[in-house]
């Protein structure tokens, strides 16, 4: 069998999230089989693989987003800084505060840009207006959106372009000051210019955050990630430093996929 749990290289970075023997079921269908993966702090880990391989399902398990999907069940262990996020004491609200999520399609609330960005801090109890203003500005700067929207913070976020909306959603996740940001194909609905802005942004985010990103674009994975995990039919086939995966894959299936023989 495949030994995906074994760390690909001796990296000095600490493990931020460690998944061990994770299975995800939708009813009787097993979408993820025995997946093990370590995600390094302040690095970008890319999850690649053909459509339906389970990479998004795996990503959502890291944030307990399956909790409210009827019939979905997660088994195995997922550790955040060594603590099991599926243990009975673990609270999904706290976990999702520490782990932010950016979805495939930009999903701004039908509110102003400002209200969108401070939504997270506000629902977690921050009421001080000056503090919220500060958080909003910092998050929008980190998402490289501040200069474009600073004069229209109190206009609807729905009036932004698709690429701006997605960066605003990143700002909204960043505003929570999470430790990890999960991204589910964040650029798949965007044009090449907006995509490259998002990619630049992801590189900068690793200064403060651990990033795990699902992408169907191998070029994107190669450009932005430090580590890559290749998923196929619900299993992690191979994981390693990105340049090694793309230049010297150890598994035949990985090589077939990245050379375009299937997918």
């Amino acid at each position: 069998m495949i030994d995906a749990a074994q760390p690909a290289t001796a990296s000095t970075a600490a493990d931020k999230i460690v998944a061990r023997d994770v299975d995800v079921f939708y009813g009787s269908f097993q979408a993820i089989k025995n997946a093990s993966l370590s995600m390094k702090a302040e690095h970008v880990t890319a999850l690649i693989g053909p459509s339906g391989c389970g990479k998004s399902t795996f990503l959502r398990a890291l944030d307990r987003m399956h909790d409210l999907t009827p019939g979905a069940r997660v088994e195995g262990t997922i550790l955040l800084d060594g603590e099991d996020i599926y243990s009975p004491e673990a609270d999904p609200v706290v976990i999702r505060h520490r782990i932010g999520m950016v979805f495939q399609r930009a999903n701004p609330f039908p509110k102003t840009i400002y209200e969108n960005v401070i939504y997270g801090p506000r629902i977690h109890g921050e009421r001080n207006r000056a503090k919220l203003d500060e958080i909003a500005e910092r998050a929008l700067r980190q998402a490289a959106l501040w200069d474009e929207v600073k004069d229209r913070l109190h206009r609807s976020a729905l009036d932004l372009s698709g690429g701006q909306q997605q960066r605003m959603c990143i700002a909204r996740a960043v505003a929570l000051s999470p430790e990890v940001i999960l991204m589910d194909e964040p650029a798949s609905a965007l044009d090449p210019i907006a995509t490259s802005k998002i990619e630049d942004l992801i590189g900068q985010l690793t200064e403060h955050f651990t990033v795990v990103i699902v992408t169907h674009s191998m070029q994107q994975a190669a450009r932005i990630s430090d580590f890559t995990a290749f998923f196929h039919l619900g299993e992690i086939v191979e994981v390693g430093p990105t340049n090694q995966i793309f230049t010297h894959p150890r598994e035949k299936r990985t090589e077939d996929y990245i050379t375009g023989r299937f997918g």
Binding site: I95, F109, Y119
Partner: protein, 305 residues
Amino acid sequence: MGNVVHPSARSVAATSSVRARKLADGVATVILWAMASSIIVMLAAFIVYMVYLGWSALTPSFIFGMPKQTTAGGGIGPEIYNSFYILMLTLIFTVPIAVAAGVYIQEYALPGMFRNVVQFSAESLATIPSVVMGLFGLLVFVYLFHWQFTALGGALTLTLLNLPALMRVTQEALASVPDTMREASMGLGGTKWQAITRVVLPSAIGRLTTGVVLIAGRIFGETAALIFTAGLSVPFNHPYDLNPFRPAETLAVHLWYTHSESIVPDVDQIGNGSALVLLIMVLVFNVAARVLGRRLTTHFTGRSS
């Protein structure tokens, strides 16, 4: 495939078959336009005729005056007041219950027995004719509770009558908010309640307002349920009373009463005037509620529409 007639390969001009299809398209467009326009014409004709009949009756003494039992020249002041008073009372009961029940069914209840029973009850309530509901109100509020004819009894009866519709509207308004909104809130560490109060309900406020306007129109126009519960009279010494335990004849009921039971000589005059005032009230309430709905939407979403 062999039946398709291809245009001549050398010409771009319409063939007879293309001309025939275009003619059918044109005829269909005209007919559909005429049907749509007929709705505008019917409404306009109705309003013009109502205004023509009722206009002369609209004097200050009619609009603000007291009704008379036997002589000509009675007004409808207390009836207008009662219409709004019962509307407000009814909305105070209906809106919280209907919205809360709709939120529960749509956002919280898992498919199962309880949800089915609530749905079935609401649908059954919705099919009860208003006159039957009026008799129920008569038995319960007037006789059983010994309230006599009261504004409160009328409002509670109308609440029963309108709950299912507003609950349905709430469910549909909530269903129209995409799940990605709930997911986004959850992904930021929000609880279900926070998603509902901060994102889902504010997004649904426009549709909810429309639903409230629709049932308000029905409440203004309701007669059968009120005849048996709120009565056919107004307290003469204190007609503009906030006390809910007093008879409260509404304008729609007054319109029915003058035409069917009353012995005043100016029945037609009062009937036409009352009908026109009722029409204006419904229109004013409609416009006001829509303006309010738009304000709320702008307030919550940062933009209009």
